[in-house]
C-alpha cells in the first residue's frame, strides 16, 4: 500500500521548497517537486529600459546575483553587437568565479554537510567527529569557512563594488578599472583562498586534486587524506553508499563556463554516454504541470511567457525546460563531465549522476577555477580600457547564457521601441527541479528521488541528501 507524504519547508536550499512523495513501506514510487513562491520578474521587466535589466535581474537571487548580472549583460551585448573590453572580460570572469567558488564553499560546508551531523546518524562510529566538524552553526569548520568565504568576496569589492547586487557588470565590460596595486591585491586574495583550500578542504596541492583521474586514484587519495574535509566526505560517501543515491536521467547540459577566448569549460550536452553539441534553439519550456500559463504548447524562451494562473492545474510555479524534449541535469557535474575532466568522466561512467559524484565535481571545480583565476588576474592590463561604450538598438533580440555555480542560466530578451517587450529567464534549478512535462516525464530531481529507500528512520534525511546534492537555488527557480 502506498502513502503520500509532503515534506517541507526544506531549508538550506536558498528559498522555499516542498516535495511530495508517493511511497510504499520501502521505497519512493514517485516524487513531485514544488517551488511555492512566485514573484514575477518577467512581468516586472516588461516595458523597462533594457539597461534596467542590470538592476533588476541580479536581485532575482542573492546567491547567484553575479551570474544573473552576467547573463543580462551578455543578452544586452548580444542585442547591441557590443564588443567587450578585454580587461572587462577578464574582470567579469574573476567576479563570476568569486561568486561561484563562494557558493561552492557555502554549499559544501553550510548547506550539505550539516545533514551528516544529524541525530539520526548518532549511532555511527564517525558521527561524533563529523558533528564536531560540520554541525550547523556550531561545527568547528564554520569560523574558518566564513572567513575564507568573506575574504574571497573581497575580490568583488575590488572589481565590482560589492556582493551581492553589483551594477559593475555591463555589456561592454566592467565599471571598476584596476590600478597596478589593485592587481597585486587581487592576486594576494586568490592566493589566500588557494591556501585555505589546500590547508583545510584538501590537505593537498590544488594541482594534485586537478590531476586525480580515476575512481581508483581517488580512493587511494581518500585513504591518504582521511583527516581533510574532502577526505572525510569521501569516506562518508563510501560508508553510506552515496554513489547509489539520487541517480538522475544522466542527460547533462552546460552552456560553457567563463569567457576565455571561448569557454574555459566547454559547452555541450552529455547524452547516452557521449558528448554532443548544444543547440540552444532546441530549448523549450513546457507549462503543462506549472501554475503558469499563456501557451499550451512548449515554446522557446524568445517566444515564451510567464503568466500566473489560478493554480487549479499543475503543482509548482516552476516550468519544465526541456532540450529537444528531454529533461537535462545542470551543475558542476554536468560542466566537468562535458568539459571532459578524466575523474568526472570516469565516475559518471561507473555510477552516473548521483549524490557523491555531484559533490565531488563541485569540489574539483574549486581547485580548477582557482587555477584559472590566477591566470586571469595576471593578464589584467591596468591602464587599458575596462568598458567599451555601448549603444543599444531600439529593436532586436539578445540572449545571454552563463554557468552559475549550480548550473546553466539563460536570459532571452526582445526589445521594441527601445523598451523590453519580452524577457524570459531559465535558471539552473528550473532545469533540475522542473515538474513533469506534457508527456509526464519527471524533472531531474523527481527522477533522482524515485526508488529511494525510505524504509527506515534515515529515509527522510536520505531524501534531503539527494535534494541538496543538486545545490538548488529556489529563488532563481521561479523568480
Amino acid at each position: 500500500m502506498s502513502t503520500r507524504r509532503i515534506l517541507g519547508p526544506i531549508n538550506r536550499v536558498e528559498g522555499d521548497l516542498e516535495v511530495r512523495l508517493e511511497a510504499d513501506e520501502r521505497r519512493v514510487l514517485s516524487a513531485q517537486v514544488n517551488s511555492p513562491l512566485f514573484r514575477g520578474f518577467e512581468q516586472i521587466l516588461h516595458g523597462k529600459h533594457p539597461n534596467d535589466a542590470l538592476v533588476y535581474t541580479p536581485r532575482i537571487c542573492g546567491i547567484c546575483s553575479v551570474s544573473q548580472s552576467v547573463a543580462a549583460a551578455r543578452a544586452l551585448a548580444d542585442l547591441g553587437s557590443v564588443e567587450t573590453a578585454e580587461n572587462g572580460r577578464l574582470a567579469t570572469n574573476l567576479i563570476l568565479a568569486a561568486e561561484n567558488l563562494a557558493d561552492h564553499l557555502t554549499h559544501f560546508y553550510l548547506f550539505f554537510m550539516p545533514d551528516f551531523a544529524r541525530e539520526v546518524y548518532a549511532s555511527e562510529p564517525w558521527h561524533e567527529q563529523i558533528a564536531a566538524r560540520f554541525k550547523a552553526q556550531t561545527g568547528s569548520a564554520h569560523p574558518e569557512v566564513l572567513r575564507a568565504r568573506a575574504e574571497l568576496l573581497h575580490l568583488t569589492a575590488m572589481l565590482a563594488g560589492k556582493w551581492p547586487h553589483s551594477l559593475a557588470l555591463q555589456p561592454g565590460g566592467t565599471t571598476c578599472p584596476v590600478e597596478p596595486h589593485h592587481q597585486t591585491r587581487i592576486r594576494l586574495v586568490i592566493r589566500a583562498f588557494r591556501d585555505f583550500l589546500e590547508r583545510t578542504l584538501f590537505g593537498d596541492n590544488l594541482e594534485q586534486i586537478i590531476a586525480l583521474d580515476s575512481g581508483e586514484v581517488l580512493k587511494a587519495w581518500a585513504t591518504e587524506h582521511a583527516s581533510t574535509d574532502f577526505g572525510r566526505f569521501l569516506q562518508l560517501a563510501d560508508t553510506l553508499d552515496l554513489s547509489s543515491l539520487g541517480r538522475g536521467h544522466d542527460c547533462f547540459l552546460s552552456y560553457g563556463a567563463y569567457d576565455d577566448e571561448g569557454p574555459a569549460f566547454a559547452d555541450g550536452v552529455w547524452h547516452h554516454e557521449q558528448y554532443g553539441e548544444l543547440n540552444q534553439s532546441d530549448i523549450t519550456e513546457d507549462l503543462s504541470h506549472s501554475w503558469t500559463g499563456g501557451h499550451p504548447e512548449p515554446r522557446h524562451p524568445f517566444e515564451g511567457s510567464t503568466i500566473p494562473t489560478d493554480m487549479r492545474e499543475g503543482y509548482s510555479w516552476c516550468k519544465a525546460p526541456r532540450l529537444n524534449g528531454t529533461p537535462m541535469e545542470v551543475g558542476a557535474l554536468a560542466r566537468q563531465l562535458i568539459d571532459g575532466h578524466p575523474l568526472v568522466r570516469a565516475l559518471v561512467s561507473e555510477s552516473g549522476g548521483n549524490v557523491r559524484n555531484r559533490v565531488i565535481a563541485r569540489l574539483l571545480e574549486l581547485a580548477r577555477v582557482v587555477s584559472l583565476m590566477e591566470d586571469w588576474a595576471a593578464r589584467l592590463r591596468p591602464g587599458d580600457p575596462f568598458c567599451t561604450t555601448t549603444g543599444l538598438p531600439p529593436e532586436g533580440e539578445g540572449m545571454g547564457l552563463v554557468e552559475a555555480a549550480r548550473g546553466s542560466l539563460g536570459h532571452w530578451l526582445r526589445v521594441h521601441k527601445g523598451r523590453i517587450l519580452n524577457y524570459q529567464i531559465i535558471a539552473p534549478t528550473t532545469w533540475n527541479f522542473s515538474p513533469r512535462d506534457a508527456l509526464e516525464a519527471p524533472g531531474p530531481l523527481e527522477q533522482a528521488l524515485a526508488g529511494t529507500d525510505v524504509g527506515d528512520a534515515r529515509g527522510e534525511v536520505r531524501i534531503q541528501h539527494i535534494i541538496r546534492s543538486f545545490d538548488p537555488c529556489m529563488v532563481c527557480t521561479v523568480h
Binding site: R12, C61, P164, H165, S166, A168
Partner: protein
Amino acid sequence: MKRRSSFRVLWLQSGGCGGCSMSLLNAEQPDLYNALDTLDIELLWHPSFSENSGDEFLGLLARLESGTEALDALCLEGSVMRGPNGSGRFHLLAGTGRPMMSVIAALAERARYTLAIGSCAAFGGITAAGGNIVEACGLQYEGDHPGGLLDADWRSCGGLPVINVAGCPTHPGWVIDTLGQLAAGRLTPERLDTLNRPRDYTDHLVHHGCPRNEYYEYKASAEQPSDLGCMMENLGCLGTQARADCNIRPWNGSSSCLSGGYACINCTAPGFEEPGHPFTHTPKIAGIPIGLPTDMPKAWFVALASLSKAATPRRLKVNAVSDHIQVAPGHEPEGER
C-alpha cells in the same frame, strides 16, 4: 559562569532573493556566528543556516505561534506576498499549504520585536516593482505609505514599530548592530528615523565619504561607465540624497557601489525600485538634475555648480572622463585651465 538568557530570533523569508542573508554571511571581524554568540543572540531557526527542516521546524513554529515558547525577535526577509487577490497564495509556506502572509502576521503578534530585513520586507522593494501583480508590500509600509501587512499604528509587544533595516541588500553591520542593541535593550524609538530605519546608518548620506568627492565639488562628471568622475550629473547617482553610511562603513572589506564605479540607486529608500526613469540616467530640466542634494536649496546648487564648474582644475576635467588617473595632483600644467 552562568550567562544571561539569550535573545531568541526567528528568521523567515518570503518574497525576496535571500541576498540579505547572503550579505549577512559576509560579516567580518568577527564572523556572523561569533558575533551572534558574543551578543547573546540565539538564532532559533534560519532558512539557510539551521539544521532543522520540515516537521522539526513546523513544530517550533507552532510553539512560537501559540506562545508556549518565547520569541524575542521576528526577522522577515523578502516582501509580504498578498496576491493573488489578497489570498497570499503566491507564497504558500512549503509543507503547510498556508499563506506565508498569515504565518508572518501571527508571529508578529507574539514577537517582542519585529524587524524587516531589507527593502523588500520594509517597503515592498524590488518585488513590488512594475505593475506589482503579486501585491507585494512591506511589513508596515507599502512604498512610502505607512501601513502594509500591519497597520500604521501597530506596535510590537516590545513597544516598537517594525524596525526597517532597509537596503538592497542590507549591510551585515546594519543587521548585527540593530539586533545587538535590541538584545541589550538599548534600541529606543528615538533611534529610528521617520521611516523607522535605524538612525545608526540613516543619519548619514551615501555621499559622506564618497571617494569621488573632489569630482563632485568641481562638478567634473563621468560620462560613461568606468569613468572616474562624479556620477550625479549623467549616470543617475543618488548618493547625495540616499540615506546610508555605505562610504563610511565599507562593503566586502573595502568598497561600495560608488567605489565600484556605478551609481547609488538609493536602495534604502521606499520606491527605489521604480525611479520613473532608467536607473543609470540622470533626468534633468534645463541641464539641472531634478534630484538635488538633500537639504540644498536649488538656487544655491545652481549658483555653486556654475561657480565650481568655472574653477574645475584641468586635472579633474581630464580624469573625470578617463578610466584611470591621467593627471596626478600637483601636476596641473600652467595656464591650461
